[in-house]
Symmetry: C2
Subunit: 210 residues, 2 copies
């Protein structure tokens, strides 16, 4: 299996955690986002969005979009499960993951921030934008799991929710967000980071880390 990614891409980070939890080894194919390598014609042929990650299996099957990849991995390699069995609990986990993967991450990704710069926004306003998106989104996430005892987002086993949370908190810190405002999220993060599959997927552990 091959994972096209980038060490600092939080969507790639989610998939690296999933692969590690499932015990799957992959060939990592880094695409340097700041150099625009994700827009090379060869890459666009497999991922027309020009985004990382993309997952290719040994038959040449290609899947884009990190959450779709993770559910695919979960359906084809069921142990350990990344979603609960109960439909309502599954929905809660997916909703938390989507609150990050739909409403935070894409509104502060490289492409959107570059567009804000093109529109003439000074750098401090671009950073403020990214901070605002993370702060608003993570505040809601904090409330979504306020009633969950933990220690992870949903119980004591890592789920799709934790796979999205850990990389997003790393982004929030990079954009100067005071994450101490989110004690429940930090509790989940600490529990997740103590798991080797999460630790090994961290950006600074990747071969393309700068």
């Amino acid at each position: 299996m091959k994972l096209h990614g980038y060490f600092r891409s939080s969507a790639s980070y989610r998939v690296r955690i999933a692969l590690n939890l499932k015990g799957l080894s992959v060939q990592h194919l880094p695409h340097h986002l700041r150099k625009g390598e994700q827009c090379a014609p060869g890459y666009l042929a497999i991922n027309p969005q020009g985004l990382v990650p993309t997952l290719e299996d040994d038959t040449g099957a290609v899947v884009t979009q990190s959450l779709a990849m993770i559910e695919w991995l979960d359906e084809t390699h069921p142990e350990p499960p990344l979603l609960p069995r109960d439909p309502l609990r599954r929905a809660k986990v997916r909703a938390f993951a989507q609150a990050i993967a739909c409403d935070i991450h894409p509104v502060q990704n490289l492409k959107v921030l570059a567009r804000l710069r093109e529109l003439g926004l000074p750098e401090e306003k671009v950073t403020a934008w990214a901070g605002w998106v993370n702060r608003e989104g993570l505040s809601a996430c904090e409330k979504l799991i306020a009633g969950e005892p933990g220690p992870l987002c949903f119980g004591d086993r890592p789920s799709l929710a934790d796979l999205c949370l850990v990389p997003q908190l790393a982004n929030a810190r990079r954009f100067g967000v005071d994450v101490n405002a989110f004690p429940r999220l930090l509790k989940a993060e600490a529990a997740a980071k103590a798991i080797k599959a999460f630790a090994d997927a961290a950006p600074d552990k990747q071969p393309d880390a700068e």
Copy 2:
């Protein structure tokens, strides 16, 4: 079951189509987004993101995030299925849906456009932003299903992909995007709109339509 929504919200529109396809009747509870009703304390208590839609079942269980709701409905009311059976095909359908629900819709929603106005962007640049997001995203979607015979996005049965596509094309037109650049998407849209469940879910058919 109760659906908190708004006639023009494309995420609400997705869920309305799913409910219609499943033959489920719900009580529609409109929240007027332009009047800020989604930020009322009572609503924030059930949806801390302050976004529509939110689905409540008869036991009081609450699910946020439209894709999570649709998968929940699909798991609890399996007929007709909104995802294929084969894991790789499921992943392809989910990836298409997420290309819209993650990378197009949240980057052009009311909240983001309002923020651009607050940053001093004139109205024509705000509309240009929304047009850019839709054009880039839908171009990629066109390529994602270029090899799919159709007539719908993935075969001859409506899937999660069609539920996301039809509302997004409506948004794209509102933002002045020339959708004729996407013939494969228009073919899927025409096939979908011929289905009563899609037609009945259209914004102008809703009780809160203006």
